[in-house]
């Protein structure tokens, strides 16, 4: 992301950066009030910035922003790059890749063509899957399927991921990560344009906690290094809780949508109040309800450091003074 932004600044001049959700997940969840709120903020910021042209790389962002910002010119990053040509340092893999159009690009012929034109310009050999372009198939994320019905989402992911023998190349980060999560090698076009590793295709999907932390770090890094602003993220008390996780705990947290920060809140509660359960076999167990969900964490303690073995949650609230 930082490399892509640096490239746009170097070749286009004045380019600002807006780090904000386009609202697609809220739209898919039917949260209309949330979309209205978000569109209001977006419109206001866009006007304050002098109504600039907006460049977005994610096809879902492009289509959402076109609905929310009436009158704004929303252009795909791939269209811009097609005009500029690939940046210096872009790499061309030796293998033949298979192209994947994300759902949001299904009715957007222009972005489908820009993506393929970029690959051709870079000398990348590629094949089309059976279902492609206007008939492309979902990766399992669209409409929040993967969140609303994880079992079905997983089946859809595996079906699409396994539809080709080649490694995938796509221009949607959710497609890329869901393919990776189902064990399929997959690249985002950014991996070729702004390479950071030779083994990008096998990079594991980051998971919920890491994705969130990456976003925080990106903002902090840019504020500090690019804009010289002390937007230093002030660590919340729970973020200072030292914690490591067993593989079992990490897997449970990912499937149950429990963040590292949720676990840290439970453990901070343990540290502050000393309220937890202990088993004859040495296991320890604590709960905490920061907002509406109650989180349970099974852990061991090694001095100040916590080793987490398992975690689960429920929404039902325990009455009567439970932490």
């Amino acid at each position: 992301m930082e490399a892509a932004y640096a490239d746009l600044r170097a070749r286009l001049g004045d380019v600002g950066l807006m780090l904000q959700c386009c609202g697609a997940p809220a739209h898919w969840a039917g949260r209309r009030e949330k979309i209205g709120e978000l569109a209001g903020t977006l419109n206001q910021r866009w006007r304050e910035l002098g109504e600039p042209r907006i460049i977005a790389a994610c096809p879902s962002c492009v289509s959402m922003l076109r609905q929310e910002l009436a009158g704004a010119e929303i252009v795909s990053h791939w269209t811009v790059l097609r005009e500029l040509g690939p940046p210096e340092g872009a790499v061309t893999p030796q293998e033949v890749l298979a192209v994947n159009d994300p759902c949001a690009a299904r009715d957007d012929r222009m972005v489908q063509e820009d993506f393929r034109a970029m690959l051709k310009m870079m000398g990348v050999s590629f094949v089309e899957p059976e279902l492609s372009g206007d008939l492309t198939q979902c990766c399992g994320y669209g409409g929040l399927l993967n969140e609303a019905n994880p079992e079905l989402g997983k089946r859809v992911s595996e079906l699409r991921a396994g539809a080709v023998n080649e490694d995938w190349v796509t221009y949607c980060v959710m497609c890329r990560d869901l393919f990776a999560k189902s064990g399929k090698r997959a690249l985002h076009l950014y991996d070729l344009l702004y390479p950071r590793s030779d083994e990008a295709a096998s990079r594991p999907a980051p998971g919920y906690s890491a994705r969130r932390e990456n976003r925080v770090r990106l903002r902090e890094g840019l504020l500090r290094e690019l804009w010289r602003e002390s937007g230093e993220h002030v660590a919340e008390p729970h973020e200072t809780v030292a914690v490591t996780f067993s593989d079992k705990a990490l897997e449970a947290m990912e499937t149950r949508r429990i963040l590292k920060s949720d676990v840290q809140k439970v453990l901070m509660q343990v540290r502050e109040t000393g309220r937890y359960l202990v088993n004859d076999d040495g296991r320890r167990l604590a709960s905490f309800r920061p907002a509406v969900v109650t989180y349970w964490v099974e852990f061991e303690q090694d001095g100040e450091a916590f080793v987490v073995q398992n975690a689960w949650s429920h929404r039902m609230c325990i009455k009567g003074g439970q932490p």
């Binding site: 937890y276 359960l277 949650s313 429920h314 009567g320 003074g321």
Partner: protein, 71 residues
């Protein structure tokens, strides 16, 4: 209101660290989306710290949450 009993809540070997008491089965009130249930659950007799085992949270409790959400 009658007390609901759940076999998943039959856990032994747990003690409250703060009070040093063995957990005992007792009626506990659970609330979700304006519905109130009384369920027999293991809890500390001194401070009433309740244990919701993993099988219960992910099994029966989750089913009831979904039923209430769809109502």
């Amino acid at each position: 209101m009658s007390v609901i009993k759940v076999p998943e809540a039959d856990v032994s070997g747990w003690k409250c660290a703060a009070c040093g008491e063995e957990l005992v089965s007792m009626p506990v009130e659970l609330e979700y989306l304006e519905s109130l249930f009384t369920v027999e659950l293991p809890a500390c007799p001194a401070c009433r710290f309740v244990l919701i085992p993993e099988e219960l949270a992910l099994g029966k409790m989750h089913q009831v949450e979904q039923l209430l959400e769809d109502k």
